[in-house]
């Protein structure tokens, strides 16, 4: 594990979003936030309380909020709209496509409570398909940060870039293991652990799980896994992925998302074109989620270090 990583605590990624947004508000007077009735859950409430004049409650109206954001962006503001990822990417998909992306409008979306780990709310609220949808949109930048610190950095970074962007984050506390010193640059995947026996490419909360798998692979089998934090799904860092394919000669991807169309698909598109090697994909396999506790669901849906570990052993044999 790189020296700039250190397991400190457990903390939610949504706090990183909320605090990053408040920092942006401090720095730029044209940052505005639109609320979709769940401002406490997605923590835009921090910005609202600090800058009430630049916060607008739109109600439960994700389509309207998205297009209102476009109007504000076309008037020189930097609007952020945030809701649960299930409704901030899908309910407004047409608005995102035509009004946000085709206009190349400077609109930022925060998709909270993503993935299985929203837990007991069940399938309707467990968004597992946004990566597939959003990475198909021209002009869109899509980031899935791995912990609290990185979500905060990513939030500030998307505020400072020009163009449409979506940040996907979650509800529960997850490992906080990046630090102030951990590099973060949009579009640049970061190697969190060196190795050349197998590459594990992950995003979001699965990055820490991948590091766990790598530790066990080394302890049990002397296998050196390269762990890549692929936080930016779009634009994808082709160079880092191609280099991993060339040097490790096999790849496992891991994401809290459908396998269909997700991070794994994005990586495979690069690999197949540049340097084909065997791959295994870890994610939700073409099924909806269900009610349960977050940890329980990750286990039932095989999003565990053990499954990454087993798939690394399997893919190494296919080299």
């Amino acid at each position: 594990m790189k020296e700039y990583l250190k397991l400190q605590d457990k903390k939610t990624t949504r706090e990183g979003f909320g605090e990053g947004l408040a920092e942006l508000g401090e720095k730029y007077s044209n940052v505005v936030v639109l609320g979709g009735d769940i401002t406490g859950s997605v923590m835009t409430s921090i910005f609202r309380d600090k800058f009430p004049d630049r916060f607008f409650s739109i109600g439960i109206a994700e389509q309207n909020a998205t297009t209102i954001a476009v109007g504000m962006a076309l008037s020189g503001k930097i609007p952020f709209f945030s809701s649960y990822s299930a409704f901030a990417a899908f309910r407004n998909a047409d608005q995102l496509r035509v009004s946000v992306c085709y206009n190349n409008a400077n609109v930022k979306i925060g998709g909270g409570h993503s993935g299985l780990t929203v837990g007991p709310d069940g399938a309707t609220h467990q968004s597992l398909e946004e990566i597939a949808l959003l990475r198909a949109l021209p002009n869109m930048t899509l980031i899935v940060p791995c912990d609290y610190n990185e979500t905060k950095k990513a939030t500030i970074a998307v505020g400072e870039m020009i163009g449409p962007a979506y940040i996907r984050f979650g509800r529960p506390k997850v490992a906080l293991f990046t630090t102030e010193d951990t590099p973060f640059e949009i579009g640049k995947a970061e190697i969190f652990r060196d190795g050349d026996d197998v590459a594990i490419i992950a995003c979001g909360s699965m990055v820490w799980v991948a590091l766990e798998a790598a530790k066990h692979l080394y302890n049990d089998h002397n296998i050196n896994a390269r762990v890549i934090n692929n936080h930016t799904i779009k634009p994808i860092d082709s160079l880092t992925i191609e280099t991993a394919a060339r040097e490790c000669k096999c790849i496992v991807t891991a994401e809290e998302h459908q396998i269909n169309g997700g991070l794994g698909s994005a990586v495979a598109e690069v690999v197949v074109k540049s340097y084909p090697v065997p791959m295994e994909f870890i994610g939700v396999n073409d099924t909806f989620g269900t009610s349960g506790e977050p940890e329980e669901l990750l286990e039932k849906f095989d999003l565990t270090w053990q499954n990454i570990y087993n798939n690394c052993l399997k893919v190494i044999k296919r080299k």
């Binding site: 609320g35 406490g40 409650s57 109600g59 439960i60 109206a61 007991p120 709310d121 069940g122 269900t290």
Partner: protein, 291 residues
């Protein structure tokens, strides 16, 4: 398990009840809601408690036609819960109507349960007509069912659908309203739970949807606004729909004035109870009030 969180096995019939009987039915429903939520340790308490009275009358005072031993009876009336997060009240009603074992209420929101956090057709729980949970969609599904019944099958089934008041902020809700009157869906009864609470606060502060009554009138509905905790008024409203379904060409909107958390003093009219379960201690206290 704490004794006070156990469920008795009483079921209710769908026949004309006295008002005092309806009151005791709705108390039972409220107790179920508190127990389910306390056991689940997550979920929505406030909205379901506010709807216990109306739902008790709708299902147990001979207004809807259904047969719990034959949930897919082709001639049944249908109830579509558009505000999927309110499902604890529906689970309690369905169990007490005999659709599934009452003891299953204790599994709400647990892994493997048929009682999902938001209703899912995938678990095949008897009595659930559609999945819902993404606000604003259920009412359009109800419009589709009413169109199918009235315009294609030409039968006399009725469709009841319930939305929240915050839910009315979703634009597609008004597309559904437009369509319902355009196709003269007098077989559709749209119930609006007007507790003026949503997650971020009062509906009038988050994004006003008032006046509700005049909006629905302008969209071509017969409307009636009632106290959603008064059984006489609930009966008047359901009879109003019954009458309209025969003599009017318009769909009906029933606007229920309710209190979130009704029945439990420390929850009543507090939007903070929209999406929280009671702790075990709070549940014990609530159950003492619900007798």
């Amino acid at each position: 398990m704490n004794e006070f969180l156990q469920f008795d096995n009483i079921t209710f019939e769908n026949k004309k009840h006295s008002i005092s009987e309806l009151k005791s039915i709705s108390l039972e429903i409220r107790r179920d809601i508190i127990k389910m939520l306390a056991l689940a340790k997550s979920g929505h308490s406030g909205g379901p408690l506010g709807l216990a009275d109306f739902m008790a009358a709708l299902f147990f005072d001979n207004y809807m036609k259904y047969d719990s031993s034959n949930p897919n009876l082709p001639s049944r009336d249908r109830f579509v819960l558009s505000a999927g997060h309110l499902v604890p009240v529906l689970y309690s009603i369905l169990a007490r109507a005999g659709y599934f074992p009452i003891q299953e209420l204790s599994t709400l929101r647990k892994y493997g349960s048929r009682l999902q956090g938001h209703p899912g057709l995938d678990t095949e729980l008897p009595g659930i007509e559609t999945s819902s949970g993404s606000l604003g969609q259920g009412i359009s599904i109800a419009v589709g069912m009413a169109m199918s019944d009235k315009l294609i099958s030409k039968n006399s089934r009725k469709v009841f659908s319930l939305t929240g008041d915050g839910e009315l902020q979703e634009g597609t809700v008004w597309e559904a309203a437009m369509c319902a009157s355009n196709y003269k869906l007098n077989n559709l009864c749209w119930i609006i739970d007007n507790n003026d609470c949503q997650i971020d606060g009062r509906v009038k502060d988050v994004m006003s949807i008032y006046p509700i009554d005049e909006k629905f009138k302008a969209f071509g509905f017969n409307t009636i606004e009632i106290d959603g905790h008064n059984f006489e008024e609930i009966r008047t409203a359901l009879n109003f729909f019954e009458e309209n379904s025969k003599s009017s060409s318009k769909p009906t909107a029933i606007i229920l004035k309710t209190f979130m958390g009704m029945g439990v003093s420390f929850m009543k009219d507090k939007y903070q109870w929209h999406g929280n379960p009671p702790s075990i201690e709070q549940a014990e206290q609530a159950l003492k009030e619900l007798i």
